[in-house]
């Protein structure tokens, strides 16, 4: 053989250029605009796709290698956790409800994200972002799969997880995360990547996966800890991609600025509204807590998003105006949410409980401005009602916001005792919102948001009865709705009354002792 083999190995930058940019080509028998018809209708102007720089310079061969290693590590731990009856080493059976929230609320979003990135990976005409989107699409599929696999180990023993796909589509509270993603996926490719790369990855996943998953580790959930950290290792790449796209749009043409600013305003607000669920998980649902929602917010929003917006200021981007309200709601969010879920526990697919005296002391210490004044008296009153055998439960489903789909429970910012009421009329019909910000989003694209199917509203319209005949003499609307929603009495209600609590105690007892 006379082939020289002494040639120096390619450096990272050359390898990236060859194995990413080098994979693209100029079409000859179709125009570029016909091949990529979707990356211009949003009004974003791109003059030079080659100016795109992928910060991680990950090529497909390296991608496969490192993702395979992540999978090997993950499944080794998942298997060990399942084989060793890991669910019985949890700090407390209440913890399992956070896992339910995860599989019902988050895992289906990973799958939607997979589909979204597969779509825009086809639609961008620049080869760099196309390859990055394809990798992200594969990552998101991996996240959906590993979350389903990890949590299936809990589904063997506990309620509330078996119908996660159906519940994600129809249960009113799960329409909050679902509508976030459907809103993004039905935008154009640039809005989608701004929504997901910025609001979902940069703002939201940092708050879900980092403090919350660290909390999972603290509560003895090796499975959730591992898939969470494994997923978040991809998110580091995703959020970098999202921010890169934002900067790329801003650098390419000054006309892009107002469009990008509008999306950042919208998606900051949409993201924060979805975070309501995460705030509640962190402050109320983790039996052993790592940090409060307010503390996590300071680190991952104030510090981290503050840095981002200071950086984007050079392009003329300003902090979204909704942030002022978000700051005012910071010390109320988790408490309002948990109160709502406690009252509406008949239509949840996880269990709720009232905070103990120790829990409440921790909450007062973390929220000195709000907890004792507004929330402790309510919890104490409800505890008294539980003791007296007449626990309080809301008898009717609440009105939902037309945009974020959260019940309109929020107070006027800065006035915690007055409920915020916002509405407008479109095409002769009145629509209600939780806030000025959701109303502005609606008014920008009313044709989009009038199509929202709000669970509680659909119930009143008679659209959640499945095959049951509402004209039958013995028709029971709530029973028909529960059957249609596939919600069993075991899925919902108070933790203390649940089959999960009884079984956990029984099995943990058996795990620690021999039968006589």
């Amino acid at each position: 053989m006379d082939i020289a083999v002494t040639k120096k190995k390619l450096g990272l930058k050359e390898r990236y250029a060859l194995m990413t940019r080098g994979l693209g080509w100029e079409p000859t028998y179709q125009s570029v605009d016909d091949v990529f018809p979707m990356d211009s209708f949003e009004g974003i102007k791109i003059h030079d796709w080659d100016a795109w720089e992928d910060p991680f310079r990950l090529t497909m061969d390296a991608y496969w290698k490192y993702q395979a290693e992540k999978e090997r590590k993950l499944y080794a731990i998942l298997d060990a956790f399942a084989q060793g009856n890991g669910h019985l080493t949890l700090s407390d059976a209440r913890y399992i409800n956070t896992v339910k929230l995860f599989i019902n609320g988050l895992a289906p979003l990973e799958y939607m994200s997979h589909r979204g990135f597969a779509h825009i990976g086809r639609q961008f005409r620049g080869v760099g972002p196309r390859v990055a989107c394809m990798m992200q699409s594969l990552d998101e599929m991996r996240h959906a799969q590993t979350q389903v696999h990890a949590i299936s180990n809990y589904n063997r023993y506990y309620d509330g997880m078996a119908n996660f796909r159906h519940h994600h589509t129809y249960l009113p509270y799960l329409q909050v995360p679902r509508s976030f993603f459907e809103d993004a996926a039905s935008g154009g490719p640039f809005e989608f990547i701004t929504a997901i790369g910025f609001a979902f990855e940069y703002v939201l996943t940092n708050l879900v996966f980092v403090p919350f998953i660290s909390g999972a580790a603290y509560n003895g959930d090796m499975g959730a800890m591992t898939f969470g950290f494994s997923a978040q290792s991809d998110e580091a790449r995703h959020m970098t991609l999202g921010l890169e796209v934002i900067k790329f749009m801003l650098e390419q043409d000054p006309d892009n600025l107002p469009i990008v600013q509008k999306w950042l305003n919208k998606w900051t607000w949409r993201g924060v509204r979805v975070l309501t669920l995460v705030a509640m998980m962190q402050d109320y649902m983790l039996p052993k807590r790592v940090m409060s929602w307010a503390e996590a917010w300071e680190i991952y929003f104030e510090e981290n998003c503050g840095a981002l917006f200071r950086d984007l200021a050079r392009y003329g981007i300003v902090m979204p105006p909704c942030v002022e309200q978000v700051r005012k709601e910071r010390d109320h969010l988790s408490h309002m949410a948990w109160c709502q879920f406690y009252q509406a526990r008949g239509t949840n697919n996880f269990h709720v409980w009232l905070p103990s005296k120790e829990d409440m002391d921790w909450l007062s210490a973390k929220y000195p401005e709000t907890f004792d004044q507004y929330y402790r008296p309510r919890f104490e009153y409800w505890a008294k009602m539980e003791e007296e055998g007449t626990p309080f439960e809301a008898a009717t489903p609440p009105q939902q916001c037309q945009v974020c789909q959260i019940p309109t429970i929020f107070p006027v910012a800065g006035d915690p005792l007055t409920r915020a009421e916002h509405s407008c009329t479109h095409d002769g019909e009145r629509f209600h919102f939780c806030s000025q910000w959701c109303q502005e989003i609606f008014e920008d694209e009313p044709e989009k948001y009038v199509q929202a199917k709000l669970g509680a509203h659909e119930l009143y319209k008679g659209n959640l009865f499945g095959d049951a005949d509402p004209t039958a003499e013995d028709f029971d609307p709530m029973a028909a709705a529960m059957a249609f929603l596939k919600l069993t009495p075991e899925d919902s209600g108070l933790h203390s009354d649940s089959r999960d609590a009884a079984n956990f105690d029984l099995w943990r007892g058996l795990a620690k002792a021999n039968e006589a």
């Binding site: 980092v210 909390g215 603290y218 580091a236 790592v290 840095a307 050079r314």
Partner: protein, 93 residues
């Protein structure tokens, strides 16, 4: 840029593979602080944070490809500039 100095951060899983990496980061970044939380470490630094391949190799005692960081990286913030010898996080570019 405004007056406030932005921080960058890097969160790594705290495990056997990252111990040498964390020590290398400590050696190369005197201004960084290390916050150990359950299962992870969050490294923050005002302005910039650098992971140098050479220092990591000294700490782990073998050849190290900086892209191996992807396996144990949980999150980060700042702009990323990566080549064969260093991974730099910073808000200036």
């Amino acid at each position: 840029m405004s007056e406030v100095k932005s921080t960058v951060f890097l969160c790594l899983q705290a495990n056997d593979e990252t111990r040498g990496v964390i020590e290398a980061i400590e050696r190369d970044n005197e201004h960084a602080s290390f916050d150990y939380q359950p299962g992870m470490v969050r490294i923050t630094a005002p302005g910039t944070l650098t992971v140098r391949r050479e220092t990591v190799e000294e700490e782990v005692g073998r050849e190290f490809d900086l892209q191996e960081l992807h396996i144990n990286m949980i999150s980060l913030s700042g702009h990323v500039d990566e080549d064969d010898d260093a991974l730099v996080l910073s808000w200036d570019r």
